[in-house]
Protein backbone atom coordinates (compact mmCIF):
# COMPACT_ATOMS: atom_id res chain seq x y z
CA UNK A 1 0.00 0.00 0.00
CA UNK A 2 2.61 2.51 1.03
CA UNK A 3 4.82 1.50 -1.89
CA UNK A 4 1.92 2.02 -4.26
CA UNK A 5 1.29 5.49 -2.80
CA UNK A 6 4.97 6.32 -3.10
CA UNK A 7 5.05 5.16 -6.73
CA UNK A 8 1.97 7.24 -7.55
CA UNK A 9 3.56 10.18 -5.81
CA UNK A 10 6.79 9.70 -7.72
CA UNK A 11 5.01 9.75 -11.08
CA UNK A 12 2.99 12.75 -10.00
CA UNK A 13 6.23 14.38 -8.93
CA UNK A 14 7.92 13.79 -12.28
CA UNK A 15 5.14 15.75 -13.96
CA UNK A 16 5.65 18.58 -11.49
CA UNK A 17 9.41 18.43 -11.87
CA UNK A 18 9.30 18.74 -15.66
CA UNK A 19 6.96 21.70 -15.43
CA UNK A 20 9.00 23.25 -12.63
CA UNK A 21 12.21 23.05 -14.67
CA UNK A 22 10.79 25.43 -17.24
CA UNK A 23 9.41 27.72 -14.55
CA UNK A 24 12.75 27.82 -12.87
CA UNK A 25 14.67 28.55 -16.08
CA UNK A 26 12.47 31.50 -16.97
CA UNK A 27 12.75 32.87 -13.47
CA UNK A 28 16.50 32.38 -13.50
CA UNK A 29 16.98 34.38 -16.68
CA UNK A 30 14.15 36.90 -16.68
CA UNK A 31 13.48 37.22 -12.94
CA UNK A 32 9.81 36.86 -13.78
CA UNK A 33 7.22 34.31 -12.73
CA UNK A 34 5.66 32.99 -15.88
CA UNK A 35 2.11 32.50 -14.80
CA UNK A 36 1.06 31.41 -18.28
CA UNK A 37 3.28 28.34 -17.90
CA UNK A 38 0.44 26.17 -16.66
CA UNK A 39 -1.68 26.88 -19.69
CA UNK A 40 1.24 26.21 -22.03
CA UNK A 41 1.32 22.81 -20.33
CA UNK A 42 -2.38 22.38 -21.04
CA UNK A 43 -2.17 23.54 -24.66
CA UNK A 44 0.83 21.29 -25.22
CA UNK A 45 -1.22 18.34 -24.03
CA UNK A 46 -4.08 19.24 -26.38
CA UNK A 47 -1.75 19.83 -29.32
CA UNK A 48 -0.30 16.38 -28.72
CA UNK A 49 -3.78 14.90 -28.65
CA UNK A 50 -4.75 16.62 -31.89
CA UNK A 51 -1.55 15.42 -33.56
CA UNK A 52 -2.23 11.89 -32.36
CA UNK A 53 -5.67 12.00 -33.95
CA UNK A 54 -4.12 12.51 -37.37
CA UNK A 55 -1.32 9.99 -36.86
CA UNK A 56 -3.24 7.03 -35.58
CA UNK A 57 -2.53 7.69 -31.93
CA UNK A 58 1.23 7.53 -32.20
CA UNK A 59 2.51 8.56 -28.80
CA UNK A 60 5.95 9.73 -29.90
CA UNK A 61 4.60 11.95 -32.66
CA UNK A 62 2.21 13.54 -30.19
CA UNK A 63 5.12 14.25 -27.83
CA UNK A 64 7.03 15.92 -30.66
CA UNK A 65 3.97 17.90 -31.78
CA UNK A 66 3.26 19.01 -28.23
CA UNK A 67 6.81 20.17 -27.69
CA UNK A 68 6.98 22.07 -30.98
CA UNK A 69 3.71 23.87 -30.34
CA UNK A 70 4.85 24.60 -26.79
CA UNK A 71 8.07 26.14 -28.06
CA UNK A 72 6.15 28.27 -30.57
CA UNK A 73 3.83 29.55 -27.86
CA UNK A 74 6.88 30.29 -25.77
CA UNK A 75 8.33 32.44 -28.56
CA UNK A 76 5.06 34.32 -28.98
CA UNK A 77 4.79 34.90 -25.22
CA UNK A 78 8.35 36.19 -25.09
CA UNK A 79 7.69 38.74 -27.81
CA UNK A 80 4.25 39.84 -26.64
CA UNK A 81 4.36 39.85 -22.86
CA UNK A 82 7.90 39.48 -21.53
CA UNK A 83 10.08 41.66 -23.73
CA UNK A 84 7.96 44.80 -23.28
CA UNK A 85 8.04 44.63 -19.49
CA UNK A 86 11.69 43.77 -18.96
CA UNK A 87 12.45 47.26 -17.70
CA UNK A 88 9.39 47.65 -15.55
CA UNK A 89 8.69 47.10 -11.87
CA UNK A 90 9.04 43.65 -10.39
CA UNK A 91 5.56 42.26 -10.80
CA UNK A 92 4.71 43.68 -14.23
CA UNK A 93 5.74 40.39 -15.83
CA UNK A 94 3.59 38.44 -13.43
CA UNK A 95 0.56 40.57 -14.29
CA UNK A 96 1.08 40.35 -18.05
CA UNK A 97 1.59 36.62 -17.87
CA UNK A 98 -1.55 36.30 -15.74
CA UNK A 99 -3.35 38.08 -18.56
CA UNK A 100 -1.78 35.60 -20.97
CA UNK A 101 -2.87 32.72 -18.73
CA UNK A 102 -6.48 33.74 -19.19
CA UNK A 103 -6.13 34.52 -22.86
CA UNK A 104 -4.54 31.12 -23.55
CA UNK A 105 -7.18 29.38 -21.46
CA UNK A 106 -10.00 30.98 -23.42
CA UNK A 107 -8.33 30.32 -26.76
CA UNK A 108 -7.90 26.66 -25.83
CA UNK A 109 -11.54 26.54 -24.77
CA UNK A 110 -12.58 27.97 -28.13
CA UNK A 111 -10.56 25.35 -29.98
CA UNK A 112 -11.02 22.23 -27.86
CA UNK A 113 -14.17 22.93 -25.84
CA UNK A 114 -14.66 23.20 -22.11
CA UNK A 115 -15.45 19.61 -21.20
CA UNK A 116 -12.79 17.02 -20.34
CA UNK A 117 -11.82 14.66 -23.14
CA UNK A 118 -10.16 11.27 -22.96
CA UNK A 119 -6.56 11.16 -24.05
CA UNK A 120 -6.65 8.41 -26.68
CA UNK A 121 -3.15 7.20 -27.29
CA UNK A 122 -1.67 3.86 -28.22
CA UNK A 123 0.75 3.14 -25.43
CA UNK A 124 2.91 0.02 -25.25
CA UNK A 125 1.06 -2.35 -22.96
CA UNK A 126 3.99 -3.52 -20.89
CA UNK A 127 3.90 -4.04 -17.14
CA UNK A 128 6.39 -5.34 -14.63
CA UNK A 129 5.65 -7.05 -11.34
CA UNK A 130 8.16 -6.28 -8.61
CA UNK A 131 7.37 -7.44 -5.11
CA UNK A 132 3.61 -7.23 -5.55
CA UNK A 133 3.92 -3.78 -7.10
CA UNK A 134 2.65 -3.29 -10.63
CA UNK A 135 4.77 -0.89 -12.65
CA UNK A 136 3.40 0.37 -15.92
CA UNK A 137 5.35 1.27 -19.02
CA UNK A 138 4.35 4.92 -18.72
CA UNK A 139 5.78 5.21 -15.24
CA UNK A 140 9.19 3.97 -16.32
CA UNK A 141 9.05 6.02 -19.50
CA UNK A 142 8.29 9.22 -17.59
CA UNK A 143 11.13 8.60 -15.18
CA UNK A 144 13.58 7.99 -18.03
CA UNK A 145 12.40 11.09 -19.91
CA UNK A 146 12.71 13.22 -16.80
CA UNK A 147 16.26 12.07 -16.11
CA UNK A 148 17.30 12.55 -19.75
CA UNK A 149 15.72 16.01 -19.89
CA UNK A 150 17.42 17.05 -16.72
CA UNK A 151 20.80 15.85 -17.89
CA UNK A 152 20.34 17.58 -21.26
CA UNK A 153 19.33 20.78 -19.56
CA UNK A 154 22.30 20.64 -17.24
CA UNK A 155 24.53 20.16 -20.28
CA UNK A 156 22.94 23.08 -22.14
CA UNK A 157 23.20 25.46 -19.23
CA UNK A 158 26.73 24.55 -18.22
CA UNK A 159 28.50 23.44 -21.38
CA UNK A 160 27.15 25.35 -24.38
CA UNK A 161 27.66 28.95 -25.40
CA UNK A 162 23.94 29.74 -25.26
CA UNK A 163 23.92 28.31 -21.75
CA UNK A 164 26.79 30.55 -20.72
CA UNK A 165 24.93 33.47 -22.27
CA UNK A 166 21.86 32.49 -20.26
CA UNK A 167 23.79 32.44 -17.04
CA UNK A 168 25.46 35.73 -17.84
CA UNK A 169 22.14 37.39 -18.68
CA UNK A 170 20.63 36.03 -15.49
CA UNK A 171 23.54 37.36 -13.47
CA UNK A 172 23.62 40.87 -14.91
CA UNK A 173 21.53 41.73 -17.95
CA UNK A 174 23.07 45.13 -18.64
CA UNK A 175 26.69 44.00 -18.46
CA UNK A 176 26.05 40.90 -20.53
CA UNK A 177 24.56 43.14 -23.20
CA UNK A 178 27.72 45.22 -23.15
CA UNK A 179 29.69 42.00 -23.63
CA UNK A 180 27.88 41.39 -26.89
CA UNK A 181 25.25 38.93 -25.69
CA UNK A 182 21.97 39.30 -27.53
CA UNK A 183 19.68 39.18 -24.53
CA UNK A 184 16.56 39.01 -26.68
CA UNK A 185 17.87 35.84 -28.28
CA UNK A 186 18.69 34.40 -24.87
CA UNK A 187 15.21 35.05 -23.54
CA UNK A 188 13.67 33.65 -26.72
CA UNK A 189 15.70 30.49 -26.30
CA UNK A 190 14.81 30.24 -22.62
CA UNK A 191 11.09 30.69 -23.21
CA UNK A 192 11.10 28.21 -26.09
CA UNK A 193 12.87 25.52 -24.07
CA UNK A 194 10.84 26.07 -20.94
CA UNK A 195 7.53 26.06 -22.78
CA UNK A 196 8.53 22.95 -24.72
CA UNK A 197 9.26 21.24 -21.40
CA UNK A 198 5.89 22.30 -20.05
CA UNK A 199 4.21 20.87 -23.13
CA UNK A 200 6.20 17.65 -22.76
CA UNK A 201 5.01 17.35 -19.18
CA UNK A 202 1.46 18.07 -20.35
CA UNK A 203 1.51 15.27 -22.91
CA UNK A 204 3.12 12.78 -20.54
CA UNK A 205 0.86 13.44 -17.59
CA UNK A 206 -2.30 13.54 -19.69
CA UNK A 207 -1.35 10.29 -21.40
CA UNK A 208 -0.65 8.74 -18.00
CA UNK A 209 -4.05 9.71 -16.62
CA UNK A 210 -5.79 9.23 -19.96
CA UNK A 211 -7.72 12.46 -19.51
CA UNK A 212 -7.26 16.13 -20.28
CA UNK A 213 -9.32 19.27 -19.80
CA UNK A 214 -8.73 22.94 -20.46
CA UNK A 215 -8.97 23.63 -16.75
CA UNK A 216 -5.84 21.76 -15.69
CA UNK A 217 -3.54 24.65 -16.55
CA UNK A 218 -3.96 26.83 -13.51
CA UNK A 219 -3.43 24.11 -10.94
CA UNK A 220 -0.46 22.55 -12.67
CA UNK A 221 1.13 25.98 -12.96
CA UNK A 222 0.75 26.50 -9.23
CA UNK A 223 2.13 23.06 -8.45
CA UNK A 224 5.09 23.67 -10.71
CA UNK A 225 5.77 26.97 -9.02
CA UNK A 226 5.59 25.32 -5.61
CA UNK A 227 7.98 22.62 -6.73
CA UNK A 228 10.38 25.23 -8.08
CA UNK A 229 10.25 27.26 -4.86
CA UNK A 230 10.66 24.22 -2.62
CA UNK A 231 13.74 23.20 -4.55
CA UNK A 232 15.12 26.70 -4.85
CA UNK A 233 13.94 28.66 -7.84
CA UNK A 234 16.56 29.06 -10.56
CA UNK A 235 18.27 25.75 -9.77
CA UNK A 236 17.75 22.82 -12.14
CA UNK A 237 18.48 20.08 -9.62
CA UNK A 238 16.37 22.00 -7.11
CA UNK A 239 13.25 22.05 -9.27
CA UNK A 240 13.69 18.36 -9.94
CA UNK A 241 14.01 17.43 -6.28
CA UNK A 242 11.25 19.90 -5.38
CA UNK A 243 8.89 18.37 -7.93
CA UNK A 244 9.51 14.83 -6.73
CA UNK A 245 9.16 15.89 -3.08
CA UNK A 246 5.88 17.63 -3.76
CA UNK A 247 4.59 14.65 -5.69
CA UNK A 248 5.51 12.26 -2.86
CA UNK A 249 3.92 14.53 -0.27
CA UNK A 250 0.70 14.70 -2.29
CA UNK A 251 0.73 10.98 -2.98
CA UNK A 252 1.03 10.21 0.71
CA UNK A 253 -1.48 12.89 1.66
CA UNK A 254 -4.13 11.59 -0.72
CA UNK A 255 -3.49 8.08 0.57
CA UNK A 256 -3.62 8.82 4.26
CA UNK A 257 -5.43 12.14 4.65
CA UNK A 258 -8.56 13.24 2.92
CA UNK A 259 -7.94 13.50 -0.81
CA UNK A 260 -9.98 16.69 -0.93
CA UNK A 261 -7.15 18.47 0.88
CA UNK A 262 -4.62 17.26 -1.67
CA UNK A 263 -4.57 20.55 -3.53
CA UNK A 264 -4.18 22.50 -0.31
CA UNK A 265 -1.01 20.57 0.58
CA UNK A 266 0.97 22.30 -2.15
CA UNK A 267 0.02 25.72 -0.83
CA UNK A 268 0.82 24.83 2.75
CA UNK A 269 4.24 23.56 1.71
CA UNK A 270 4.72 26.69 -0.36
CA UNK A 271 3.87 29.06 2.46
CA UNK A 272 5.96 27.09 4.94
CA UNK A 273 9.01 27.07 2.69
CA UNK A 274 8.64 30.77 1.96
CA UNK A 275 8.41 31.52 5.66
CA UNK A 276 11.18 29.23 6.89
CA UNK A 277 13.62 29.04 4.02
CA UNK A 278 12.66 31.43 1.19
CA UNK A 279 15.62 30.35 -0.93
CA UNK A 280 14.43 26.76 -1.05
CA UNK A 281 16.46 23.58 -0.56
CA UNK A 282 19.04 24.22 -3.27
CA UNK A 283 18.89 27.98 -3.68
CA UNK A 284 21.59 30.32 -2.56
CA UNK A 285 20.63 33.40 -0.60
CA UNK A 286 19.58 36.10 -3.03
CA UNK A 287 21.61 39.23 -2.70
CA UNK A 288 19.55 42.32 -2.19
CA UNK A 289 20.66 45.04 -4.52
CA UNK A 290 20.80 48.48 -3.04
Amino acid sequence: MIMQQLLNGLVLGIGYALTALGFSMVFGVLRVINFAHGNVYMIGAFAGLTAAKYCGGNFYISIAAGMVSGALIGLVLERLIFRPVRHMETFAGLLTSTGALFALGIIAMLIWGASPVSYDMTLPDVTWEIGGLTIYFMQVFMLVVAVVVMAALWWIVNRTSIGIAMRAASHDTATSQLMGIDVNRVTQFTLAISSALAALAGVLVSAYYGMVSVHIGFNSGIKAFTAAVVGGIGSIAGSFVGGIALGLAEGLASGYLSSSYRDAIAFFILVLVLLIRPTGLFGSAAKQKM
Binding site: T90, F91, G99, S258
Partner: protein, 322 residues
Protein backbone atom coordinates in the same frame (compact mmCIF):
# COMPACT_ATOMS: atom_id res chain seq x y z
CA UNK B 1 -1.81 64.20 -20.02
CA UNK B 2 -3.91 67.16 -20.93
CA UNK B 3 -7.04 65.13 -21.35
CA UNK B 4 -6.83 63.65 -17.90
CA UNK B 5 -6.16 67.06 -16.41
CA UNK B 6 -9.15 68.59 -18.17
CA UNK B 7 -11.44 65.81 -17.09
CA UNK B 8 -9.97 66.09 -13.63
CA UNK B 9 -10.80 69.78 -13.52
CA UNK B 10 -14.33 69.07 -14.73
CA UNK B 11 -14.69 66.39 -12.10
CA UNK B 12 -13.54 68.72 -9.39
CA UNK B 13 -16.03 71.31 -10.57
CA UNK B 14 -18.93 68.94 -10.94
CA UNK B 15 -18.18 66.07 -8.60
CA UNK B 16 -21.09 66.96 -6.35
CA UNK B 17 -23.24 66.95 -9.45
CA UNK B 18 -22.01 63.47 -10.38
CA UNK B 19 -22.80 62.29 -6.89
CA UNK B 20 -26.33 63.69 -7.13
CA UNK B 21 -26.76 61.95 -10.49
CA UNK B 22 -25.63 58.68 -8.91
CA UNK B 23 -28.10 59.18 -6.06
CA UNK B 24 -31.11 59.81 -8.27
CA UNK B 25 -30.33 57.03 -10.77
CA UNK B 26 -32.56 54.49 -8.95
CA UNK B 27 -35.56 56.68 -9.64
CA UNK B 28 -35.08 56.02 -13.34
CA UNK B 29 -34.25 52.35 -12.98
CA UNK B 30 -37.31 51.42 -10.93
CA UNK B 31 -38.65 49.08 -13.56
CA UNK B 32 -35.31 47.69 -14.62
CA UNK B 33 -33.95 45.94 -11.59
CA UNK B 34 -31.19 44.28 -13.58
CA UNK B 35 -29.73 47.71 -14.34
CA UNK B 36 -29.87 48.56 -10.66
CA UNK B 37 -28.19 45.26 -9.88
CA UNK B 38 -25.30 46.17 -12.19
CA UNK B 39 -24.90 49.51 -10.41
CA UNK B 40 -24.92 47.80 -7.00
CA UNK B 41 -22.22 45.42 -8.18
CA UNK B 42 -20.26 48.38 -9.53
CA UNK B 43 -20.40 49.95 -6.07
CA UNK B 44 -19.24 46.66 -4.50
CA UNK B 45 -16.36 46.61 -6.98
CA UNK B 46 -15.54 50.23 -6.12
CA UNK B 47 -15.22 49.20 -2.49
CA UNK B 48 -13.10 46.19 -3.38
CA UNK B 49 -10.88 48.08 -5.78
CA UNK B 50 -10.30 50.85 -3.29
CA UNK B 51 -9.42 48.38 -0.57
CA UNK B 52 -7.03 46.52 -2.88
CA UNK B 53 -5.52 49.87 -3.76
CA UNK B 54 -4.18 50.16 -0.21
CA UNK B 55 -1.96 47.12 -0.72
CA UNK B 56 -1.23 47.25 -4.43
CA UNK B 57 -1.45 50.93 -5.20
CA UNK B 58 -0.18 52.59 -2.03
CA UNK B 59 2.15 50.05 -0.44
CA UNK B 60 3.15 48.49 -3.76
CA UNK B 61 2.70 44.88 -2.63
CA UNK B 62 1.16 42.39 -5.01
CA UNK B 63 -1.99 40.72 -3.69
CA UNK B 64 -3.54 38.00 -5.82
CA UNK B 65 -6.00 36.69 -3.24
CA UNK B 66 -8.18 39.67 -2.56
CA UNK B 67 -11.35 37.73 -3.29
CA UNK B 68 -10.55 35.56 -0.27
CA UNK B 69 -10.68 38.60 2.04
CA UNK B 70 -14.01 39.42 0.48
CA UNK B 71 -15.15 35.84 0.99
CA UNK B 72 -14.02 35.72 4.62
CA UNK B 73 -16.04 38.86 5.33
CA UNK B 74 -19.04 37.36 3.56
CA UNK B 75 -18.82 34.06 5.45
CA UNK B 76 -18.29 35.74 8.84
CA UNK B 77 -21.34 37.90 8.30
CA UNK B 78 -23.45 35.19 6.71
CA UNK B 79 -22.68 32.53 9.31
CA UNK B 80 -23.25 34.89 12.22
CA UNK B 81 -26.60 35.92 10.80
CA UNK B 82 -27.78 32.42 9.90
CA UNK B 83 -26.37 30.41 12.80
CA UNK B 84 -26.16 32.91 15.65
CA UNK B 85 -29.03 35.18 14.75
CA UNK B 86 -26.97 38.36 14.68
CA UNK B 87 -28.40 41.38 12.94
CA UNK B 88 -26.72 42.58 9.77
CA UNK B 89 -25.50 45.76 11.46
CA UNK B 90 -23.81 43.80 14.24
CA UNK B 91 -22.00 41.59 11.75
CA UNK B 92 -20.61 44.53 9.79
CA UNK B 93 -17.94 45.50 12.33
CA UNK B 94 -17.25 41.82 13.08
CA UNK B 95 -16.66 41.07 9.39
CA UNK B 96 -14.49 44.17 9.23
CA UNK B 97 -12.35 43.08 12.18
CA UNK B 98 -12.30 39.38 11.33
CA UNK B 99 -11.24 39.89 7.73
CA UNK B 100 -8.74 42.49 8.89
CA UNK B 101 -7.12 40.08 11.35
CA UNK B 102 -6.83 37.39 8.69
CA UNK B 103 -5.36 40.04 6.42
CA UNK B 104 -2.70 40.82 9.01
CA UNK B 105 -1.77 37.14 9.10
CA UNK B 106 -1.50 37.08 5.31
CA UNK B 107 0.85 40.03 5.60
CA UNK B 108 3.14 38.04 7.92
CA UNK B 109 5.42 36.69 5.17
CA UNK B 110 6.37 40.26 4.29
CA UNK B 111 8.13 40.38 7.66
CA UNK B 112 10.38 37.61 6.41
CA UNK B 113 11.28 39.70 3.41
CA UNK B 114 8.97 37.88 1.02
CA UNK B 115 8.16 40.44 -1.63
CA UNK B 116 7.50 41.01 -5.30
CA UNK B 117 6.47 37.97 -7.29
CA UNK B 118 6.87 35.61 -4.34
CA UNK B 119 4.34 37.59 -2.37
CA UNK B 120 2.00 37.36 -5.33
CA UNK B 121 2.15 33.59 -5.16
CA UNK B 122 1.81 33.51 -1.37
CA UNK B 123 -1.31 35.64 -1.54
CA UNK B 124 -2.62 33.51 -4.37
CA UNK B 125 -1.98 30.49 -2.18
CA UNK B 126 -3.90 32.19 0.61
CA UNK B 127 -6.83 32.68 -1.75
CA UNK B 128 -6.81 29.06 -2.81
CA UNK B 129 -6.34 27.72 0.73
CA UNK B 130 -9.27 29.83 1.88
CA UNK B 131 -11.43 28.47 -0.90
CA UNK B 132 -10.39 24.87 -0.22
CA UNK B 133 -11.22 25.35 3.46
CA UNK B 134 -14.58 26.88 2.67
CA UNK B 135 -15.34 23.86 0.51
CA UNK B 136 -14.06 21.17 2.88
CA UNK B 137 -14.93 22.52 6.31
CA UNK B 138 -18.53 21.69 5.65
CA UNK B 139 -19.58 21.27 9.29
CA UNK B 140 -19.35 25.05 9.59
CA UNK B 141 -19.45 26.52 6.09
CA UNK B 142 -21.93 24.04 4.53
CA UNK B 143 -19.25 23.13 1.97
CA UNK B 144 -19.55 23.48 -1.79
CA UNK B 145 -23.34 23.74 -1.66
CA UNK B 146 -22.99 27.21 -0.18
CA UNK B 147 -24.80 29.02 2.58
CA UNK B 148 -28.40 29.89 1.70
CA UNK B 149 -30.99 31.95 3.49
CA UNK B 150 -28.94 34.88 4.72
CA UNK B 151 -31.47 37.41 6.01
CA UNK B 152 -31.81 40.94 4.69
CA UNK B 153 -30.75 43.88 6.83
CA UNK B 154 -33.47 45.40 8.97
CA UNK B 155 -33.34 49.11 9.69
CA UNK B 156 -35.80 50.61 12.21
CA UNK B 157 -38.18 47.75 11.62
CA UNK B 158 -37.96 48.13 7.85
CA UNK B 159 -36.58 45.07 6.08
CA UNK B 160 -34.63 45.56 2.86
CA UNK B 161 -36.86 43.96 0.28
CA UNK B 162 -36.17 45.74 -2.99
CA UNK B 163 -32.87 46.64 -4.58
CA UNK B 164 -33.18 50.37 -3.92
CA UNK B 165 -32.27 50.35 -0.21
CA UNK B 166 -29.36 48.04 -1.01
CA UNK B 167 -28.25 50.54 -3.61
CA UNK B 168 -28.17 53.37 -1.07
CA UNK B 169 -26.56 51.18 1.57
CA UNK B 170 -23.66 50.14 -0.64
CA UNK B 171 -23.33 53.68 -1.96
CA UNK B 172 -22.96 55.00 1.56
CA UNK B 173 -20.53 52.22 2.42
CA UNK B 174 -18.44 52.90 -0.67
CA UNK B 175 -18.44 56.65 -0.04
CA UNK B 176 -17.46 56.17 3.58
CA UNK B 177 -14.65 53.85 2.50
CA UNK B 178 -13.57 56.36 -0.12
CA UNK B 179 -13.49 59.12 2.48
CA UNK B 180 -11.62 57.04 5.06
CA UNK B 181 -9.08 55.69 2.61
CA UNK B 182 -8.53 59.13 1.13
CA UNK B 183 -7.79 60.35 4.65
CA UNK B 184 -5.50 57.37 5.10
CA UNK B 185 -3.65 58.18 1.88
CA UNK B 186 -2.95 61.68 3.07
CA UNK B 187 -2.04 60.63 6.58
CA UNK B 188 1.37 59.74 7.96
CA UNK B 189 0.58 56.05 7.49
CA UNK B 190 -0.32 56.67 3.87
CA UNK B 191 2.96 58.45 3.31
CA UNK B 192 4.76 55.52 4.90
CA UNK B 193 2.95 53.13 2.54
CA UNK B 194 4.08 55.17 -0.42
CA UNK B 195 7.62 55.40 0.90
CA UNK B 196 7.77 51.61 1.13
CA UNK B 197 6.39 51.35 -2.40
CA UNK B 198 8.88 53.79 -3.86
CA UNK B 199 12.04 52.53 -2.20
CA UNK B 200 11.91 50.07 0.62
CA UNK B 201 15.56 50.32 1.60
CA UNK B 202 15.35 54.08 1.67
CA UNK B 203 12.20 53.94 3.78
CA UNK B 204 13.92 51.64 6.23
CA UNK B 205 16.89 53.98 6.50
CA UNK B 206 14.50 56.81 7.27
CA UNK B 207 13.27 54.90 10.29
CA UNK B 208 10.08 53.37 8.91
CA UNK B 209 9.31 49.90 10.24
CA UNK B 210 8.68 48.56 6.74
CA UNK B 211 7.51 45.13 7.85
CA UNK B 212 4.89 46.60 10.15
CA UNK B 213 3.81 49.09 7.50
CA UNK B 214 3.33 46.38 4.90
CA UNK B 215 1.45 44.18 7.35
CA UNK B 216 -0.89 46.98 8.31
CA UNK B 217 -1.52 47.67 4.63
CA UNK B 218 -2.62 44.06 4.26
CA UNK B 219 -4.79 44.32 7.36
CA UNK B 220 -6.53 47.55 6.36
CA UNK B 221 -7.10 46.34 2.83
CA UNK B 222 -8.58 43.05 4.00
CA UNK B 223 -10.82 44.76 6.56
CA UNK B 224 -12.53 46.91 3.95
CA UNK B 225 -12.85 43.95 1.61
CA UNK B 226 -14.53 42.11 4.49
CA UNK B 227 -17.00 44.94 4.76
CA UNK B 228 -17.86 44.52 1.08
CA UNK B 229 -18.22 40.80 1.71
CA UNK B 230 -20.72 41.34 4.51
CA UNK B 231 -22.83 43.46 2.19
CA UNK B 232 -22.54 40.91 -0.60
CA UNK B 233 -23.70 38.05 1.64
CA UNK B 234 -26.80 39.88 2.71
CA UNK B 235 -27.54 41.27 -0.76
CA UNK B 236 -27.45 37.88 -2.49
CA UNK B 237 -28.74 36.03 0.60
CA UNK B 238 -26.66 33.12 -0.67
CA UNK B 239 -22.89 32.62 -0.76
CA UNK B 240 -20.78 29.72 -1.92
CA UNK B 241 -17.03 29.18 -2.23
CA UNK B 242 -17.40 29.56 -6.00
CA UNK B 243 -18.05 33.27 -5.59
CA UNK B 244 -14.56 33.92 -4.29
CA UNK B 245 -12.20 32.46 -6.82
CA UNK B 246 -8.91 33.57 -8.31
CA UNK B 247 -10.86 34.95 -11.26
CA UNK B 248 -12.62 37.36 -8.93
CA UNK B 249 -9.32 38.51 -7.43
CA UNK B 250 -8.06 39.02 -10.95
CA UNK B 251 -11.12 41.04 -11.93
CA UNK B 252 -10.45 43.44 -9.07
CA UNK B 253 -6.77 43.71 -9.99
CA UNK B 254 -7.81 44.44 -13.57
CA UNK B 255 -10.09 47.23 -12.40
CA UNK B 256 -7.31 48.72 -10.34
CA UNK B 257 -4.71 48.49 -13.11
CA UNK B 258 -7.09 49.78 -15.77
CA UNK B 259 -8.35 52.64 -13.65
CA UNK B 260 -4.96 53.60 -12.35
CA UNK B 261 -3.40 52.20 -9.24
CA UNK B 262 -2.58 54.59 -6.46
CA UNK B 263 -5.43 57.01 -6.90
CA UNK B 264 -8.99 56.78 -5.73
CA UNK B 265 -10.68 58.26 -8.79
CA UNK B 266 -8.89 55.68 -10.90
CA UNK B 267 -10.33 52.93 -8.71
CA UNK B 268 -13.86 54.22 -9.22
CA UNK B 269 -13.32 54.60 -12.95
CA UNK B 270 -11.87 51.10 -13.31
CA UNK B 271 -14.71 49.57 -11.33
CA UNK B 272 -17.27 51.46 -13.42
CA UNK B 273 -15.73 50.47 -16.74
CA UNK B 274 -15.02 46.83 -15.95
CA UNK B 275 -18.15 46.46 -13.85
CA UNK B 276 -20.42 47.54 -16.67
CA UNK B 277 -18.49 46.35 -19.74
CA UNK B 278 -18.81 42.61 -19.00
CA UNK B 279 -22.57 43.01 -18.66
CA UNK B 280 -22.69 44.57 -22.12
CA UNK B 281 -20.72 41.60 -23.45
CA UNK B 282 -22.75 39.06 -21.55
CA UNK B 283 -23.59 37.25 -24.79
CA UNK B 284 -19.94 36.20 -24.97
CA UNK B 285 -20.39 34.03 -21.87
CA UNK B 286 -17.17 32.76 -20.33
CA UNK B 287 -15.18 34.23 -23.16
CA UNK B 288 -15.50 37.59 -21.45
CA UNK B 289 -12.48 36.53 -19.44
CA UNK B 290 -10.51 37.10 -22.61
CA UNK B 291 -11.30 40.80 -22.23
CA UNK B 292 -9.84 40.82 -18.73
CA UNK B 293 -6.75 38.94 -19.80
CA UNK B 294 -5.97 41.05 -22.84
CA UNK B 295 -6.85 44.29 -21.09
CA UNK B 296 -4.59 43.51 -18.15
CA UNK B 297 -1.66 42.68 -20.42
CA UNK B 298 -2.12 45.68 -22.68
CA UNK B 299 -2.55 48.11 -19.81
CA UNK B 300 0.50 46.88 -17.88
CA UNK B 301 2.65 47.20 -20.99
CA UNK B 302 1.34 50.40 -22.52
CA UNK B 303 -0.12 52.37 -19.68
CA UNK B 304 1.08 50.97 -16.38
CA UNK B 305 -0.45 53.83 -14.45
CA UNK B 306 -3.93 53.23 -15.79
CA UNK B 307 -6.26 55.48 -17.74
CA UNK B 308 -6.49 57.86 -14.82
CA UNK B 309 -2.85 57.69 -13.80
CA UNK B 310 -0.80 60.80 -14.17
CA UNK B 311 1.56 60.72 -17.08
CA UNK B 312 4.86 59.78 -15.55
CA UNK B 313 6.46 58.27 -18.60
CA UNK B 314 9.26 60.79 -18.46
CA UNK B 315 10.08 59.59 -14.98
CA UNK B 316 9.93 55.98 -16.13
CA UNK B 317 12.47 56.68 -18.83
CA UNK B 318 14.85 58.17 -16.31
CA UNK B 319 14.43 55.10 -14.15
CA UNK B 320 15.31 52.84 -17.06
CA UNK B 321 18.47 54.77 -17.86
CA UNK B 322 19.53 54.53 -14.26
Amino acid sequence: MAFTENVSKLMNKYNWGLLVVWFIIPLFLKNWSYGLHILIMVAVYVLLTQSLNVVLGLAGQLHLGHAANFGIGAYISGLLMVDAGFSFWATLPLAFIGAGLVGLVVGLPTLRGVGGDYLGIVTLGFGEITRIFLINWDSVTRGPMGLPGIPAPVLFGYSFSSKIPYFYLITIMALATWFLLERLTNSKTGLQFMAVRTDENCAQVLGINTGLVKMSAFGISAAFAGLAGAFYASYFSFISPDSFMFVDSLAVICMLIVGGKGNMVGCVLGALLLGIAPELFRFLGDYRMLIYGVLLTVMVIHRPLGIWGLDKRRLNKIAIIR
